[in-house]
Symmetry: C2
Subunit: 527 residues, 2 copies
């Protein structure tokens, strides 16, 4: 069978492949028809050369045209929505609707359009002007961005159209997308639309490039190549840390979103008030998308007592009642089983589940583990193993003091939630726990589960290491996500006719926010 083509240097062309792979329908376990190449370093080399050239050309393209590309791309995705959702469904077993076509696809096109708007508006770049010294600075494109998309969002995080892609392009950089091998067909469709939109808007043809898969060593080489500006990665901790080491050694920025347990603390007053509601919310958040979200609550913490025991039983019942949905791939199934076994070997007890489901495709029983606080504290590292998929663990602590001790042992997390009484019964415990939790999480929630990441300027989808690679950046939330793929550029005494539009005396759009002599303003600079 002929291998699918890769998109390099403005052409869909044969890969210089070192091997090939097929995607598998996770609901049935059968391989899908098409065969995709694993690219050699030769493909990466060609993509890097083309991207470096495109980066220079892109620097001369008006921002409006870059924005037009993002908008056209969004339109084109919508024009092919049915085929995209069907392909993604076949490759991931995620529901065609609502998940793929009514949630993830609109989120994807929404991100592209928000990024387009941010690119034109320009405030993302934090333009800063000192009129007396004629000193001006802003964030600006930094060169080709390499993006590694994850398995769990075939659209919204796909390297060729997701949040990192939108941010990198909007900041003015060409993208080399490395698809995830679990949904190459989806990636192909999206890359086709991206490339068509590049043509329609006359961007440099290597503004978007896509390869399906590469070997590990080539990945490390790619992120540390001198031609690369920065890298965005969403995926497993092991892969992320290997890429980070390589990029760091070369002095190349890399933004990683890795593992997270997203601890949820439930205080007694909240449980007394609304035990069923919280059990529902926790179950929904654990099992939606078979638990394959970066923000799935992998850990729920509560102090012991009769009401807590009731809560565990209520969750157990819900986990038992819910259908088991397929996982994304055999890899996810295998790794979930290994994680659950690692946790139980370290002392966690199975409340329900804990088994591979035999039959069609790749499934795992809805799994609830529990452990008591002292046992957790005896082995806090192993017991923070991420179980990616439809599994979660409840830690039943002795009391709030022990809860606090447990929270101090937690690694950096994307999120942390606290449920508390609405009438103030838990306020003292909240104060104590939230200050410890706050330092360890990127997003602190009240009375809410962490899944469902709004694409909003105030969002932080990031957190302290090892949840992310750097605690100061977010992968979701425009305009902040754009700044990851930028460098800070200062113009000192540069003549006015040589300044970029964003830093000219005249406000480039009439509505771009700029920090002029210490005040944010949309006005022109006084002559």
């Amino acid at each position: 069978m002929a291998l699918q083509n890769v998109l390099i240097d403005g052409n869909w062309r044969e890969a210089r492949a070192t091997g090939s792979f097929q995607s598998i329908n996770p609901a049935t376990g059968t391989a899908l028809a098409d065969e995709y190449p694993i690219s050699s370093w030769g493909d990466c080399e060609a993509a890097l050369d083309a991207a470096a050239e495109a980066a220079v050309l892109l620097g001369q393209v008006p921002t409006e045209r870059v924005a037009k590309f993002l908008n056209r791309f969004a339109d084109r995705i919508e024009g092919r929505a049915t085929e995209i959702a069907e392909t993604a469904h076949a490759e991931t077993a995620l529901a065609k609707s609502p998940r793929l076509s009514r949630i993830e696809l609109p989120r994807t096109t929404g991100q592209l359009r928000q990024a387009a708007k941010a690119a034109i508006e320009g405030s993302w770049a934090l333009p800063t002007i000192d009129s007396k010294l004629n000193l001006r600075s802003c964030h600006s494109a930094l060169g080709p961005v390499c993006i590694f998309g994850p398995n769990n969002f075939p659209l919204a995080y796909n390297g060729i159209c997701g949040g990192d892609f939108a941010a990198a392009i909007a900041a003015g950089n060409p993208v080399i997308a490395k698809g995830h091998p679990s949904h190459p067909g989806t990636t192909r469709l999206l890359a086709e639309e991206a490339f068509a939109a590049v043509g329609e808007t006359a961007l440099p043809s290597a503004t978007v490039q896509m390869i399906y898969h590469i070997g590990r060593e080539d990945g490390l080489r790619l992120v540390s190549d001198p031609r690369i500006g920065a890298t965005g990665f969403t995926g497993s901790r092991a892969a992320g840390l290997a890429l980070k080491t390589a990029a760091d050694a070369a002095g190349k920025p890399i933004y990683l979103e890795m593992s997270s347990l997203n601890p949820v603390v439930v205080l007694p007053g909240a449980l007394r008030e609304r035990i069923e509601k919280i059990a529902d919310e926790y179950t929904d958040s654990c099992l939606a998308g078979s638990g394959q979200f970066c923000t799935k609550p992998g850990l729920l913490l509560l102090p012991g007592g009769e009401v807590s025991e009731r809560f565990v039983m209520q969750v157990r019942q819900r986990f038992a009642d819910r259908p088991v949905a397929p996982l994304l791939s055999p890899t996810v199934q295998k790794s979930l089983d290994a994680s659950v076994k690692k946790l139980t070997a370290a002392g966690a007890k199975v409340v329900i589940g804990g088994d591979v489901v035999v039959g069609d495709g790749f499934r795992y029983s809805n799994t609830l583990l529990r452990i008591d606080g002292a046992a957790f504290l005896a082995n806090p590292e192993i017991l923070q193993t991420e179980a990616f998929g439809n599994a979660s663990m409840i830690i039943v602590a002795h009391d709030v003091a022990q809860l606090a001790e447990i929270v101090t042992k937690l690694e950096g997390q994307l999120t942390g939630s606290i449920y508390s009484s609405t009438v103030g019964d838990d306020d003292k415990s909240y104060a104590q726990l939230s200050s410890i939790l706050r330092q360890r999480v990127g997003r602190l929630l009240n009375d809410k589960m962490p899944t469902g990441v709004a694409v909003n300027p105030a969002m932080n989808h990031g957190g302290p290491y090892p949840a992310a690679g750097h605690p100061g950046f977010t992968a979701v939330g425009i305009p902040a996500s754009l700044r990851r793929f930028s460098q800070l550029e200062c113009y000192d005494n540069v003549r006015k006719n040589r300044l970029p539009p964003l830093l000219a005396d005249r406000n480039p759009t009439g509505k771009t926010w700029r920090l002029i002599d210490g005040e944010w303003s949309v006005a022109d600079l006084k002559a």
Copy 2:
């Protein structure tokens, strides 16, 4: 002789020393009286524990009090200005006036006061609010910051009072300062005033800590310790990269300002117009402070021709006429000589200088090297060796095309300057060269030498690797420099009485800029 005490955990106490050292008067070469400890890991351990505790306490201190500390500290430095300048002069041979007492000391106190103002005002944290979703985020303290100051600014970059210190404290973090061994007496005086100001403003007593010197391995351990939030470093590339490797591996942010050649391109039209003025400016910029600035122009590039030859001769004359001032230390002298020898071995010709000056203290002749463009291009890596001190190299290129080729070979730099005709004669060359140079420098200058870094919101004192560790951050320029020492924190559905003041409905100062529903505003949030 008794060793000087270190400042750890709120006490001036004996170091657990592994050795000791004295500072040397670089003008005479004689050792100064006091003896200072090289701290063991035991001292670091104690400082880390105390800093971790101070970080928690500091989180509960109102920002106004942190600002008060910074202002009081500035006042106290001024109150002891004469002794500080005299000590710094004895340890560095930098002029007491104007350099130390009239330039660097006011810059230092100015930075502290600007940081105090920024801390109170709060806009540095980019507070961002979505009122519909009740989603709010801002940058916030991230934990103890370790600061390694350089040899060349005993006050303005000193780990215990310089720009990184001011930024880290203003962002709400305690500081562990590691002094530079070439000016320990100055560091002691400054640490005494810092600690006295801590007492006066009742901050946690370990908010500022200071050790004089540590071994290499302990430095690597310090920046990667779990209790550390981030590190700021200014100094040599070798030391910086070693610390970066250690911090990166532990997932700890580290901000480095390392070497830079600060290329200056002089185009023919500019030379024809004002050859003497440019020769003066270049000479001043190369020899001020014996060339011991991170932004000293280490490289000047110009196309060949009669006027260029005349320029070289004019600079030669000026370098010959200027007195030779002492270097900061025997280390700087030795390293400057080694760099010059490396450059000449690689093909650079000595126009003037190139010798250690025999006699009192540590001096090196004002040194001008030259090389032609083709020779540079034959060996561009070695020929970018930094010669820290009063030396610079002129590259005489064949033509503008060759200049462009040379600029593409340049490593990441803090700055890059272009001098051009004021009547448009060089505009084509400017356009060609500036777009290449722009990508390689943090600050692009027109008709101006790079020394003299204004402490200004629009400044960028940073640049692409290896000039700095990350191209998106500046070490100078408040408020941006504060964000290095922060993490992004999001509040999702958090109850209003639990929000930090910066994110409350009410504007905390009535004049804090916040991004509310997409608009920068100093208003309260509508209820």
